[in-house]
Amino acid sequence: MSDDTSSPLTTLKILIIGESGVGKSSLMLRFVDDVFDPEQAATIGVDFRVTSMAIDGNRVKLAIWDTAGQERFRTLTPSYYRGAQGVICVYDVTSRSSFEKLNHWMTEVDTYCTNDNIIKMMVANKIDMPNRVVSREEGLKFAKRHRTLFIEASAKTREGVQCTFEELIEKIIQTPDLWDNDRPTFRLGQPTDTSGGALCGC
């Protein structure tokens, strides 16, 4: 799938979530195929794209999972979180309700993701639109509270799209716990270190 011959460092799973119609599929297609179709049909269930990119001289393979935003498709979403190293949570700056639902999405990420230190990114989409209702400051504040990356982007004008993915992937690569399975895991200290203290309740 990767047109590059060098073998990839690792394969990363990136999940795109957010309310219906905020531009999740457009973001993905802009990034993967560099196209924008204003008439992008609503996603049914889940859609995938596989691509690869170079980060710090390393080639990484990306499996991008684009999920449907409608309520009716959500029964399966929890299962999509499994094994994801990064999650992109999109809202639409022209829709306050899509911004207000972010809390729900963050809770879902925390509940279902299997990697403790999964990298989260908040993307404010459609900044090219004239009728913006969610300010940059509000977005920043939310991202800070939830300790996520934050970027404003427009799938239509291409602004910020490349950057979104690059930042996210770079951050994941900097967290080897997330992707490097051969790396020795955190070892328990000698349990006896503390056993002295365990001996009685006093």
Partner: protein, 917 residues
């Protein structure tokens, strides 16, 4: 040299030939110079606690032999001690400027220091009384530097170097292997010298087994005769007595409650079986106590203090957690083969029938054909052993949580208890003790919640899977003598599971679809339950269709508002949507009853995603359209006259703008899949639709799961239970520790461990599982030790006279005794063994005396103590009676198989030279 020059004899200094010894001497001198050891050594303050630490190591060779030269330096034991030392030195510095010339020979001071005795655990302090020294040791076993003569030659060389470089640090040299403990040593300040030597005897001679013998031996060694003018010898002694503790047998008394809890406690016997008391008598004059072959004054009740240890003669002290989790470790000795199916393991004990055809069972056409509840089948399939089948079946009842009262299990457990008790004779006291221990080990936290310390991916508490995992682990422990109990329980579980599926009884707890936060096995059990539920629904549809029973409705989604919920109806309307249709503005819009998606386990999702990945865009969309198509049919049936915009208003409100009354652009794309499907959809209410989760799918699922369970090897079964068993172990650990109250810091650490386990269950990381298993085994072991000591102190309290030790004193004693035991079991560091010091007459001391029946020690037992150590210190004039008195020291260490004597013998070398002249 001057003389040589006068005679004008030329002498060539030929440095091209250097003997091995000269080579060694030069190297050794170099080391001494490196340390700048010339002159007086600082004297060490008494009230700072030190530990001797090797601070530098050099390897020097003599010919082909390599010698290791270590410099041992006293270091303050702790930071507190170091601070004390800093305070001291600043004081000393002031004095030093005035009194430098009066500074004494440190080695002589140290040897005379009566405090350099049993308080210290450093061997050189104990043996020779010095706290700073250089030690020469053969570097490896191949060293041929083994002869005493060779050592004397080397020591002679070293002596010369020490004198030449005015080094006053004592140097010790091991003869042969270090473990033989043959040591020669030397120190001098030019005025007086100390020779150090040791004697190690393996053939025990009765001539030096008591204090009176050793006293005469000490005098003989110094060449002294008994004289009234001599000072008295000062002595310290330490006698170590090792006494057996009464070993309480421990037998589990099984109750329904204890069967539901993961087993804890000792694996075979309680940990401690020996009490070791080292009684010290500090510094007395030679006539105040006597000890000879028939008499001993050293009654341990009158010693200065005791140092107490609890010991075990067993090789392993691990508890049952180690056994429970041991099956997940490679290299554990296996009780039974685990790479075959449980059915094979049971062999003749299992009468097997062909698995009934699940498809057949699914072809029931009405609910009336299905018998719910007790359902007697003529088949006699089941196990006949090795454990009583009735017990196993009662246990399976318990696993499925079939009854709230477990009379049957209680009855079976009574029988089990009676059989296990029958082998041995139990005294009244033993029985009482057993009950006490049972209460301690089966501690159950009544406030325990259902939540875990961390989100493990495993079965939730209270589910069938949780109880099954605990039961299979307990079977390994409770029925240790019958290792086939575990496969038997699994086989009985499977039989019951199949039967329950056939009779459509509840097998597992399910809330709103499969819980993906539970483990794979649990998800399969949930899947089975959902299949059973789906069959129930199917029958209800049949029944309501045929009997038109108005009370029955189905597929009510909890999240919908109950107020507007409608009675079941032919249109499949669920409730009012609260708006009117666009397509037919006089009609209200109804939300239809909808179908559930197929429940999927993690494995199925992975397979499905893999399949979706492999498809082209269009096929992928089509495959996922199933639910949308069904929704469209239901919506049309519930709302005749509705248009596509109406559907969007319900299904995807973002795609219809109520203000401008327009459909979003993306839904208007010509011929898009939504519009196409809408146009193709027929109005069909859910009750008439093809089920998405249909009979074929159900049958396939059930078949594959039951077949999987049936063909699993014991290893596979254990692997399925793994996350839940580990979680149960860590949670049980947390529960039992609560019985003691747990510090906040401990609790934090436990949560950290729990998070690691959560991670291990998510990623199935073997290394983390192994670490957790080790951690659990060790913490449980500590807990068992605590329980055992608690039990011993409780019993001692009943037998001793008041005043009794307080709870705080007992807690402290337990803490210290466990710390020592843990140190000796696991610590690989070279840290000194911690000590627990007790006064014989204190309540704790008396309680310990009761435990070890120390009052009953006979005189012969006192004389033949496990180990007897003596330090003799004597001011005696050597070599002549007119010289200045020097402190002489002897340390004797008498053990059953080895007597060692260590001498520090001083002589005034100045005086002897003077008298000679």
């Amino acid at each position: 040299m001057a003389e040589m020059e006068e005679n004008t004899v030329f002498e060539i200094n030929d440095f091209t030939i250097v003997t091995d010894m000269e080579h060694f001497g030069a190297a050794f001198e170099g080391i001494i110079q490196k340390y700048e050891f010339s002159g007086r050594r600082p004297s060490l303050p008494d009230d700072v606690k030190y530990r001797m630490v090797v601070t530098d190591t050099n390897v020097v060779s003599i010919a082909e032999n390599k010698l290791r030269i270590d410099y041992l330096q006293p270091m303050p034991i702790s930071l507190d001690e170091a601070a004390k030392l800093a305070e001291k030195t600043s004081e000393v510095e002031k004095d030093e400027t005035e009194d430098v010339h009066l500074a004494p020979f440190t080695v002589a001071e140290e040897i005379a220091n009566i405090k350099n005795g049993f308080e210290s655990t450093d061997s050189f302090v104990l043996k020779f009384g010095v706290r700073e020294c250089i030690v020469v040791t053969p570097n490896d076993s191949s060293c041929t530097f083994t002869d005493e003569n060779q050592v004397n030659t080397v020591m002679g060389n070293i002596r010369a170097i020490l004198h030449a470089s005015r080094c006053e640090v004592p140097v010790f040299c091991y003869i042969k292997d270090e473990s033989l403990d043959l040591i020669a040593g030397y120190a001098s300040d030019g005025n007086s010298t100390y020779k150090f030597s040791s004697v190690v005897l393996r053939n025990i001679n009765p001539r030096h087994c008591t204090m009176s013998d050793l006293l005469s031996l000490f005098r003989e060694h110094l060449g002294a005769r008994i004289s009234a003018f001599d000072e008295e010898i000062r002595i310290s002694t330490r006698f170590t007595h090792v006494v057996p503790l009464k070993q309480n047998p421990y037998l589990r008394n099984h109750t329904v409650d204890s069967f539901g809890l993961l087993a804890t406690g000792p694996s075979l016997t309680l940990p401690f079986d020996t009490l070791e008391v080292a009684a010290t008598w500090r510094l007395f004059r030679e006539d105040s106590f006597t000890e000879h072959h028939d008499h001993s004054d050293f009654n341990i009740n009158f010693s200065t203090h005791w140092s107490v240890k609890m010991k075990s003669t067993q090789n392993s002290l691990l508890g049952v957690f180690d056994e429970i989790l041991g099956v997940y470790r490679e290299g554990t000795r296996k009780m039974i083969r685990s790479d075959v199916t449980p059915a094979v393991l049971l062999g003749k004990h299992y009468t097997q029938k062909d698995m009934p055809n699940v498809f057949q069972k699914l072809t029931v056409n009405s609910a009336s054909e299905v018998k719910i509840g007790k359902h007697v089948e003529p088949e006699s399939e089941g196990t006949s052993g090795p454990m009583p089948p009735s017990l196993m079946r009662a246990w399976v009842d318990f696993i499925f949580n079939e009854h709230t009262e477990y009379d049957e299990l209680a009855h079976e457990l009574n029988l089990l208890n009676a059989t296990s008790m029958s082998g041995t004779q139990w005294s009244e006291e033993d029985l009482v003790n057993n009950v006490k221990l049972d209460t301690l080990f089966n501690y159950k936290d009544s406030n325990s919640t259902n939540s875990f310390l961390a989100p493990y991916k495993c079965a939730k508490r209270g589910t069938t899977t949780w109880r099954l995992a605990v039961a299979l682990a307990n079977a390994r422990i409770f029925m240790k003598e019958t290792p086939r109990a575990e496969p038997q329980l699994w086989v009985e579980f499977l039989l019951r599971l199949r039967k329950k599926y056939e009779t459509m009884e509840t097998v597992e707890r399910v809330n709103n679809g499969i819980d993906h936060m539970q483990c794979g096995f649990s998800q399969k059990m949930q899947m089975l339950q959902m299949c059973i539920d789906a069959r129930h629904k199917r029958h209800k549809i049949f029944d309501s269709a045929h009997k038109a029973n108005p009370d029955e409705f189905f597929d009510a989604n909890d999240t919908f508002n109950a107020d507007t919920t409608l009675e079941p109806n032919n249109e499949g309307r669920y409730r009012l949507a609260g708006m009117n249709l666009i397509g037919n503005s006089s009609e209200p819009m109804y939300i239809p009853v909808t179908q559930d998606a197929c429940p999927l386990t993690d494995e199925m999702i992975d397979a499905r995603n893999e399949h979706l990945f492999s498809l082209g865009d269009e096929e992928r969309v089509n495959l996922q359209m199933e639910l949308v198509k069904s929704d469209m049919q239901s919506f049309k049936a519930a709302n005749p006259g509705a248009v596509f915009a109406d559907f969007l208003r319900w299904h995807s409100p973002k795609d219809y703008d109520e203000k401008t009354e327009t459909i979003s652009e993306r839904m208007l794309i010509p011929n898009n899949v939504w519009v196409r499907s809408w146009e193709a959809a027929q109005p069909i209410p859910v009750s008439n639709q093809a089920r998405i989760f249909n009979d074929t799918k159900i049958a396939e699922e059930v078949c594959s799961i039951l077949e999987l369970f049936n063909n699993a090897t014991l290893d596979e079964v254990r692997e399925w239970m793994k996350p839940t068993v580990f979680a149960a172990t860590l949670e049980r650990l947390n529960e039992i520790e609560k019985s003691y109250g747990i510090s906040e810091e401990k609790q934090k650490q436990r949560v950290k461990i729990a998070k690691i386990l959560a991670n291990a269950t998510l990623n199935d990381s073997i290394a983390e599982y192994i670490d957790i298993a080790k951690y659990c085994s060790q913490v449980e072991m500590i807990y068992i030790m605590k329980v055992h000591l608690m039990h011993l102190f409780q019993n001692a309290k009943e037998k001793m006279y008041p005043p009794y030790p307080s709870d705080a004193e007992i807690q402290n004693a337990i803490k210290q005794l466990v710390t020592i035991a843990v140190h000796n079991l696991w610590e690989e560091s070279h840290e000194n063994e911690p000590e627990f010091i007790v006064k014989a007459m204190d309540p704790i001391g008396r309680a310990l005396a009761v435990m070890g029946k120390l009052d009953g020690l006979t005189e012969q037992q006192l004389i033949n103590a496990h180990r007897k150590e003596y330090i003799f210190i004597w001011n005696y004039k050597r070599p002549s009676t007119t010289t200045l008195p020097m402190t002489q020291r002897m340390y004797s260490d008498l053990r059953a198989d080895k007597h060692s004597l260590y001498f520090a013998t001083g002589s005034d070398c100045n005086f002897s030279n003077a008298s000679y002249l």
